[in-house]
Amino acid sequence: MVQQYEFKAKWLPYLLVLPQMVIVFVFFFWPSLQGLWQSFFLQDPFGGQVIFVGLENYVRLFTDPAYSYGESFAVSVAFAVCVAGLSMILALFLATQTNKKIRFASFYKTMMIWPYAVATMVAGVLWLFMFNPNVGVVAWFLKNRFGIEWQHLLNSGQAFLLVTLAASWKQISYNFVFFLAGLQSVPVDFIEAAAIDGAGPMRRFWKIIFPLLSPTTFYLLVMNLVYGFFETFPIIHQVTAGGPGKSTSILVYKVWRDGVINLDLGGSSAQSVILMIMVIGLTVVQFRFIERRVHY
């Protein structure tokens, strides 16, 4: 029996949610609407000259080769998928290993969670130090032991690899916690029953544990894609600044550069509107499937 409380005064609930709504409106809706509004104009940064251009800012994003928006879009997708894939696979592997009955298990677990406490910007700096082509430890090691010339300032593949590694490293901890919790909620009876039936460890993992983990996996997939798309700005900013050329200039980085550094307010607003639509899409997907989680 669920108890239902009812407010006597009809206006009270509205009053109670009002502060929250004001905050949401002032800090979320208002700027979003402004962004939408500005995306239809060309204007100088001081707001002295404003020209209405309709959809021109959007059209240019997709037709002007100098904008290379398509390129940036492709890089962002590849980056987000690689980060999500790499960090989830590694996290799942680590979670299954620490979930075994081993010595110092809780110590490993603690250690594994630590990187999440590192600010994304700092994570970028750490990786940059190690891979600095001139003074980095790893770059030196690669060159002198393996004969690999590490020059991510010019080699776009290496630059992509570096930002992917840095962004994934940071995210492994987050995924690890969720996977570990997921693994611990898999009933032991199922696994024991399967073991008695003669299923080996690999078979038990793929036929029982992995399917039962699927809600966690799906949730993490969405979260990781969101992370890869939208929260990796500090890493790109710190490690490659979008270079070499434009090869790691992901959408969130580009929108910031064009708007804040290059003061192209119209073009940048148009980009942010597109990003907004993407976030809305991802949120819808996330809610849909998180609802479904209950029924697995």
Binding site: Q43, N134, G243, G245, I261
Partner: protein, 435 residues
């Protein structure tokens, strides 16, 4: 102690209410570390020198942060009186009609004594109209020079007191340095500012039409010439065997020089103090090399750095304060103090003479090389400076394309053409908006 502080605080408050409070003048800047301290020291000196005005310097972050803060404040009608804006923002500030008060107007309106001739022409021209009216007050100015490792020169059997003067000599020396066992021969910062903009000015070649943009918004980039192509082609070829090493955009190549991996390096004279701290070897500063077959070379180099802009819509009294602060900033003593403490160039000839007479250059020969390079000849329309809208994006396009060239994705010729084509599109955008 606490009681004493409280007592003195009370005293200050009483004193404050007894006399007319000085007019506060906000000054937003982007100087950190030693430079920021020097800004504070100069403002303190000004505030102590008179009691009518109080200049309050506020650090607002990087150059672009500061400019954005100024823009946002102006739109919210709470702009500071003075803001420091970097040289690439010059055209944007100029075009911001109604937002700024040109310095020559400010001085005229406030009847402040103002003689534009005391300033070094190559520095003020960057921030003046083509008629010579000063729009903003040059503040921290620098120019690009060549740094070279004297110890490495000795090791390679070269004369450390004879740095290369021409580009052909320079490339030979670079190869010798590399052959002497160094990681590479040379590197450079700021590919656009040093190897394109200053390179063009130094050879008295146009970087853009219409006096590099000084004469109108309908300017076009024209630096995809055989000379520039030859120059970048040579550097590209030398990058293949690592005689040239790429160290990144902006000033990110500095560690290559300070760690001794390359023997020669191009960087702003503003980096002189930094190298003095970080280089564990004897280094020298020399003028930029030039191609001897170009008539008129070397001309003069151009500046980089930032200037002080005055926002519109302030009270008359505030403007009086700003004007007297600007006059104070231009005195030889203050300029010499700024120059000697930060490494930025003095903006008046008197400050240069004063610094010379104080014997500063005997211990610090580097900055004088830069000043002499700026004063080498009277500036021409190719060497007054660069005045482009959307300049930041144009430089970014150049950076990106230069990386593509070095990665072998695009030829030098095609790369230069792309820089010019895409840069011109950005100039047209700016023209359209500010007609």
């Amino acid at each position: 102690m606490k009681r004493f502080l409280l007592a003195s605080l009370a005293l200050v408050m009483i004193a404050g209410s007894a006399f007319a409070a000085p007019i506060t003048i906000d000054f937003w800047h982007a100087m950190t570390g030693k430079n920021g301290d020097t800004v504070q020291a100069i403002c303190d000196k000004f505030n102590a020198s008179q009691s009518d005005y109080k200049v309050v310097p506020v650090y607002k972050g990087s150059y672009s942060d500061t400019m954005n803060a100024g823009i946002a404040a102006f739109r919210a009608k709470s702009a500071p009186a003075i803001i420091q804006v970097y040289e690439v923002g010059t055209a944007t500030m100029m075009a911001a009609k109604g937002a700024v008060k040109p310095v020559y107007q400010l001085m005229k309106e406030t009847k402040q004594k103002f003689d534009p001739k005391i300033y070094i022409p190559t520095i003020t021209s960057y921030y003046s109209t083509s008629k010579g009216e000063m729009l903003s007050l040059p503040f921290n100015s620098s120019t690009s020079v060549m740094y070279y490792n004297k110890d490495a020169f000795r090791k390679a059997g070269l004369d450390p007191e004879k740095p290369p003067v021409t580009w052909p000599e320079f490339f030979e020396v670079a190869k010798k340095l590399k052959a002497s066992g160094m990681e590479g021969g040379f590197s450079t910062n700021w590919i656009s500012w040093i190897q394109l903009e200053n390179f063009s000015a130094w050879h008295n070649q146009p970087f853009g039409t219409r006096s590099n943009g000084f004469d109108g918004l309908d300017t076009e980039l024209v630096f995809n010439t055989p000379l520039v192509q030859r120059h970048l082609e040579t550097i590209y070829q030398l990058s293949l065997d690592k005689t040239f090493i790429y160290g990144g955009r902006e000033n990110k190549a500095n560690p290559l020089f300070s760690s001794g991996q390359v023997g020669m390096h191009f960087e702003s004279i503003g980096g002189y103090a930094n190298f003095k701290n970080t280089c564990k070897f004897d280094f020298g500063v020399a003028r930029l090399p030039y191609y001897p077959d170009v008539a008129g070379a070397p001309q003069n180099s151009i500046i980089g750095g930032a200037s002080l802009w005055v926002f519109n819509g302030k009270s008359k009294d505030e403007y009086k304060g700003v004007a007297s602060f600007f006059s104070f900033l231009s005195t030889p003593e203050i300029q010499a103090f700024w120059h000697q403490n930060t490494g930025y160039l003095p903006i008046t000839t008197a400050a240069y003479e004063l610094t010379k007479s104080q014997g500063f250059y005997e211990k610090n020969p580097g900055p004088e090389v830069a000043i002499k390079q700026l004063l080498n000849k009277a500036p021409t329309k190719n060497s007054m400076g660069i005045r482009f809208g959307n300049f930041n994006i144009i430089r970014e396009i150049e950076d990106q394309t230069w990386e593509d060239i070095l990665a072998g994705k695009i030829s030098v010729k095609a790369g230069l053409d792309r820089m010019v084509r895409e840069g011109n599109a950005k100039l047209r955008d700016f023209e359209r908006l500010n007609k």
